[in-house]
């Protein structure tokens, strides 16, 4: 199938790239080795997700051009989207490792509760952020250890931990929320939650987080070992990788991401609710899989997951803004998820 395409790819661009024949890998080079073709093949899952997003946005724009050309619509999505990104990305690592974590909503609630308590007690919000991050790390370690060293199914154990931690929050707070009115004057708020050129500043933090995590996934020993452990744990163990510790670390990563996400959501709303984070469970999970990370482990895409999160958060806004009633939101949510999964199944070969 590739034979017919090779000459076309080779002649017009091949000389310009210079990357093909570079270095000692000369005898490996092949006409189909063109950088553009390689780029498309290596990133087909995330590119597929991007295509789904573009088609969806095109449909929305055709349905209601006036609303979709106003900045307000995008601004409102961009305020809440970063919160989701901070958990979607670590979850890509967890799913790649062959596990799942359903406890992140409660971790979001718990860590942001600690943040709210520290700020309410009159300390600087930076100390609150540090305390929230520490809480998230510890909870992630707790959940990870329970799953890995306890030898439990991550699906059930993390579901249980989600209920357990949320229940604990509810018991102690008895449903009361915490208002943090003084937050707006703090320097932490200006750095993490104000606006720059009309864009919510947390967007930039989220982009930085996605870029860092993508590098961690593709260019760091941690990402390499996560993929190998998810792919073939027996082999990884034979080659001297501490499989259990790698698994614990991905849960710790989710804990840290959830703590950041929870703190951001409190800063946006100036209020902490005992239910903080609950609404993110299903949209975040959907984003990971819409993004092109398969359920079976070993492979995944951080950038795809991020685009998946953008897609999922635009569905709700888009459906309503396109002039359909809110009753259509769930239907379109489901439609996009199913279509994406079918697309990825066709797009990715599964090796055994």
């Amino acid at each position: 199938m590739s034979k017919a395409m090779e000459p076309d790819l080779q002649t017009p661009l091949g000389t310009a790239s210079g990357k093909v024949a570079k270095g000692p890998a000369k005898e490996w080079s092949h006409p189909s080795n063109h950088w553009l073709r390689g780029f498309v093949l290596d990133n087909r899952a995330s590119l597929g997700t991007l295509a789904v997003f573009i088609v969806m946005m095109a449909v929305f724009m055709i349905a209601n051009p006036t609303v979709f050309t106003t900045w307000y619509l995008y601004s409102s999505v961009l305020t809440t989207l970063p919160v989701a990104l901070f958990v979607v990305v670590p979850l890509v690592f967890v799913v790649t490792c062959g596990e799942i974590d359903l406890s992140f909503p409660a971790t979001m609630g718990f860590a942001s509760w600690v943040f709210a308590l520290v700020v309410q007690a009159g300390y600087d919000p930076f100390i609150g952020i540090a305390a929230a991050l520490l809480t998230g790390t510890l909870l992630g370690f707790l959940v990870g250890s329970l799953v890995v060293y306890g030898g439990l199914s991550s699906l059930i154990a993390t579901l249980g931990m989600n209920f357990l931690l949320r229940g604990l929050i509810q018991i102690i707070n008895e449903g009361r929320s915490t208002a943090l009115t003084g937050l707006a004057d703090s320097s932490a708020y200006k750095i993490f939650s104000s606006q720059v050129w009309g864009i919510p500043v947390q967007v930039f933090w989220a982009i930085a987080f996605v870029v860092f995590s993508a590098l961690l996934y593709n260019r760091h020993r941690f990402g390499a070992q996560v993929k190998v452990v998810g792919d073939n744990p027996d082999s990884a163990r034979q080659m001297g990788i501490d499989v259990k510790w790698v698994r614990v670390k991905v849960f710790v990563f989710v804990g840290i991401g959830a703590a950041i996400a929870g703190t951001f959501s409190v800063m946006i709303n100036f209020t902490w609710w005992p239910t903080a984070g609950d609404g993110y469970l299903l949209p975040v999970l959907a984003s990971v899989f819409v993004g092109g990370t398969p359920t079976w482990g070993g492979i995944g895409t951080v950038v795809g997951g991020a685009i998946g999160a953008v897609t999922v958060s635009f569905i709700q806004t888009g459906v309503v803004a396109a002039g359909l009633s809110g009753f259509y939101v769930q239907f379109f949510n489901g439609l996009i998820i199913i279509l994406s999964l079918l697309g990825h199944k066709w797009n990715q070969a599964r090796y055994r």
């Binding site: 490996w28 993929k227 090796y351 055994r352």
Partner: protein, 263 residues
Amino acid sequence: MGERIIELRDIKKSYGQVYALGGVNLSVDRGEVVGLIGDNGAGKSTLIKILSGVVKPTSGEILVRDKPVTGWSAARSRDAGIETVFQDRALAVQQTIVRNIFMGRELTSFMGWLKVDKEIEEASRLMREIGFTSKVFTPHSIVGQLSGGERQGVAIARAIYKQAELIILDEPTTALSLTETAKVFHFVRQVRASGRSILFIGHNIHHVFDIADRFVVLDRGKVALATDRNEVKSAEDLINFMEDVAHPGGLPGLHEDAEQGAQ
């Protein structure tokens, strides 16, 4: 022959009352390919496990480069430069060739960031060393796209990267086609040419005969035959010998036929 890499002397291994190995002598020198043949239950896998240090022998002596070793273990075996390549189970098939070669031994700079270019360079060098050159695959190719023989090549390259002096190939050609087997043989010859040794374990006597310099036939936990390539004229000789060992009186049917033929 060159330096003696490892020698087993009178190795016995019993599980309760049952002897898996009843006094085995085996040695591998530098730069030779030793073929280990034997039926199911002959004790091949126990012997491999002892060599790789996973299983400790009940009695017997192990010498590494002519020096007796005490406290033989998996770590000692690795330090002695022994690597075992198991059929098919060893690779992460959704990952690239590079990631498989450097699995657990990633080349990193500060803070654990990967030296991607260095890894590709090293991988190319290793693959070239075992004669795995390809116009179709690059170090970035997914292992799942490779054929069975080529996967063995990746596993062998990984073993070499781990500074292996002796590579134990456990049934590397089982379930491979003729052309794939030829590829594995090609890799094995390249490894021998580079001065490393291989212990080649096989069911298929023809395969082992084609590649090995020396043969060791195991039968019911004992070495039934240890011989040089020059002393065996053909694979059929080996097969006949193994049948004799397995059925000392000859198979009833065969024996009668032979007698009748003689008369």
